[in-house]
């Protein structure tokens, strides 16, 4: 397998301050000082101290993509994903490091840039296509496909300034979707338009990935990353947190986001509660889950049988009109179910809480289980179950991958 993209120790520094007189004189002074130092000690010339206004968006990022692979790039907002893509696609230069790209790379960071409002759809297809690296002839060969994909046959000779915003993005995506590059950089936000066209976009994105030699996909949807990419790069504060096979990286990432989502909730409730009370009102001393198939404390096997959760909660104070609820959320924080009940006895002490579910048909992964106590108006305590609930991978299930959240005993067949 030959390498198609090779990135070595890429770092990127940004200057965050405002450019004004002060910055200008500081610049000049710093350059002068460096020059002077260089005069006296030529070896010292290269060292440059970070100023307080410097910000490292990327730090020593290295990875390779081989022919036939799709790389998923994940990480929270501000982790450096966009900066990395800009470096790869030559839009900005790294502060250190090297990128080698073998083959024609097209990056679809944002569609429709470079469209000219006075130009007709036809002219804009040529303008945008050549801007993205096609020759006029290549655009001509793809022209009919592009127009057909966009569904704008009737309006192709109308200036795009008269297009609706929906028509505009459809045309833009259609051009971008027909570049047929060897290496493609895709941002999932590219899927645009109404629901039907969005579906078309997603399908086309998958096709592009399958057609090309290699692809780089940026996404927040872990399902898509799992499905489309084989290797995955997880960026965190500009550094590589993990690089490796997608399923490993994604499951670590999901664990991490689970932690963060929960600590966000905790902070929120702690904040609300701080105003009234100092001591925590309640603590979750232990929890467990059991089903017929697994007696392990915090894991279950995906199945269709009854699942029972046990929670031991310690109340330190009397909460009037207390209601208690249990929720299960996925790693992204999407709440999947909530069950609540009123607490009859509101005296301090131990409470044993049981949640019975006739079935819990979840796909494998980690889930956040939490209890919340409220005084009828506000949440007064948020208790998170640690460790998280893990739904194990079904061994030998014969199913190819899980899409979606639910894992129901459904049956799909052709009616004859």
């Amino acid at each position: 397998m030959s390498v198609v993209v090779e990135a070595e120790n890429i770092s990127k520094r940004f200057f965050l301050g405002e450019r004004n007189q002060r910055a200008f004189f500081e610049d000049v002074a710093a350059k002068g000082m460096r020059g002077l130092r260089h005069l006296f000690d030529p070896k010292d010339g290269k060292t440059k101290k970070d100023s307080a206004r410097d910000f490292w968006a990327l730090r020593d990022v290295s990875f390779q993509i081989f022919q036939g692979q799709t790389l998923g790039i994940i990480g929270e907002n501000g982790a450096g994903k966009s900066t990395l893509l800009k470096v790869l696609s030559r839009i900005t230069q790294p502060t250190t490091g090297t990128v080698k790209v073998y083959g024609r790379l097209a990056s679809l960071l944002e569609i429709g840039t470079g469209f000219h409002p006075e130009f007709s759809g036809r002219d804009n297809i040529y303008l945008n296509g050549t801007m993205l690296g096609l020759s006029r002839r290549e655009v001509r060969d793809r022209f009919d496909q592009i127009v057909e994909f966009s569904g704008l046959e009737k309006f192709i000779d109308v200036p795009v300034k008269n297009y609706s915003s929906g028509m505009y993005v459809r045309l833009a995506f259609s051009v971008a979707a027909h570049l047929n590059p060897e290496i493609v950089i895709l941002d999932e936000v590219l899927a645009v338009g109404d629901a039907v066209f969005q579906k078309k976009c997603f399908d086309r994105i998958e096709e592009i990935i399958n057609e090309g030699h290699a692809a780089i996909l940026v996404s927040h949807g872990m399902g898509n990353v799992r499905r489309m990419s084989q290797v995955c790069l997880w960026l965190r504060h500009g550094r590589v947190e993990m690089f490796g096979p997608t399923h490993e990286v994604v499951s670590h990432y999901e664990k991490q986001t689970t932690h963060e989502v929960v600590s966000h909730y905790e902070k929120q409730t702690a904040h609300q509660h701080e105003a009234t009370q100092r001591e925590p009102l309640a603590t979750l001393s232990s929890w467990s889950v059991e089903s017929q198939l697994s007696k392990n404390w915090h894991t279950i096997v995906p199945g269709q049988e009854k699942v029972t959760f046990h929670f031991e909660i310690e109340l330190t104070a009397v909460i009037p009109h207390c209601r208690i609820s249990v929720s299960i959320a996925d790693a992204q924080g999407l709440i999947l179910l909530t069950q609540d009940c009123a607490l009859q006895e509101t005296k301090a002490g131990k409470i044993s809480l049981i949640l019975e579910l006739p079935l819990l048909p979840l796909r494998p992964g980690d889930y956040i289980v939490s209890c919340a106590l409220s005084d009828g108006e506000h949440t007064v305590a948020f208790l998170r179950a640690t460790p998280e609930l893990t739904v194990l991978d079904e061994k030998n299930s014969g199913r190819s991958g899980y899409h979606g959240v639910l894992n129901l005993p459904a049956r799909l067949f052709v009616n004859e």
Partner: protein, 280 residues
């Protein structure tokens, strides 16, 4: 195993160099950008491309009244209209080129942030657009000359006209060089861009647009020698009409200055294009 050559390499501390071959690859984008700029100016105007002709005419009329009738500056042996108009179209070619090139990063920043293509394509397409503009205006000037001819006034148009493309090329190169220097400098600090228009206006008064060299007092001639545009305009007029005597020395100095400025400008431009998106 022999390793294949990368299609491109991005490296810190190296110029994101625009290889001449790459400019050629993007030649069709270049043509479309020329068309875009051309269409953009005259879309939704009543007179459309007629504006090419109206602008130099009006300016020449104003110059004829102010400098010819009121200030009574000489215009060699050319009719004032021809003298001023020839100067105005050449100067507006130069100054439009320069100010548009200087605005490259600020004007196309949004585009450059999203899509990679050799950045130099944009200034080159703008210069070409202005060149087309100039040619159209030159045709009008020739029309005016024909009118004078018909009404009995002789205006010599010599074989020297063949040197015109060369003179224009040097002017364009000078505009490109200075424009690139300003474009690179304005990436961090925009002060220069504010004074470009203003400076170009002042510069015109020192560039033999509204008066010939013969009108300049002896003790100020050294100032003209410092201004490459002065001798370039002179070369331009003499290649058109063969009227003014041109010395070779100032033309050589002007060309040398142009080459130095162009090399420096292109180098700074290449240096700036790697990181300018970080600060615009």
């Amino acid at each position: 195993m022999n390793t294949p050559k990368p299609t491109y390499v991005v490296e810190a501390d190296k110029l994101l160099s625009t290889h001449p071959r790459e400019l050629w690859v993007y030649r069709e984008l270049f043509l479309l950008l020329v068309k875009r700029d051309f269409v953009a100016v005259y879309k939704q105007t009543v007179l459309g491309p007629l504006w090419f002709f109206v602008q130099p005419f009006l300016a020449s009329l104003v110059f004829m009244i102010v400098f010819g009738q009121i200030a009574r500056l000489p215009t060699t042996n050319l009719p004032p209209l021809v003298f001023y108009m020839s100067g105005i179209i050449a100067w507006s070619f130069f100054s439009n080129c320069l100010s548009q090139v200087a605005f490259t990063f600020l004007g196309s920043g949004g585009l450059f942030r999203k899509i990679y293509f050799p950045r130099l394509i944009v200034p080159l397409s703008q210069i070409t657009m202005n060149l087309l503009n100039f040619v159209a205006q030159l045709l009008v000037l020739l029309g005016v000359i024909a009118f004078y001819e018909l009404s009995g006034k002789r205006i010599e148009l010599g074989v020297k006209m063949l040197a015109l493309p060369l003179v224009l090329g040097v002017m364009a190169l000078l505009a490109l060089g200075i424009g690139c220097l300003i474009a690179a400098a304005t990436v961090k600090y925009r002060d220069l861009n504010i004074i470009v228009g203003y400076t170009l206006n002042l510069w015109m008064y020192g560039s033999l647009i509204i008066y010939p060299r013969s009108a300049v007092p002896q003790n100020l001639l050294w100032l003209l020698a410092l201004n490459p545009m002065a001798s370039l305009i002179e070369c331009y007029r003499s290649s058109l009409f063969g009227t003014e005597h041109t010395e070779v020395q100032p033309a050589i100095i002007a060309t040398a200055i142009t080459l130095v400025v162009a090399v420096a400008g292109l180098w700074c431009f290449a240096k700036a294009e790697g990181t300018f998106t970080d600060s615009i």
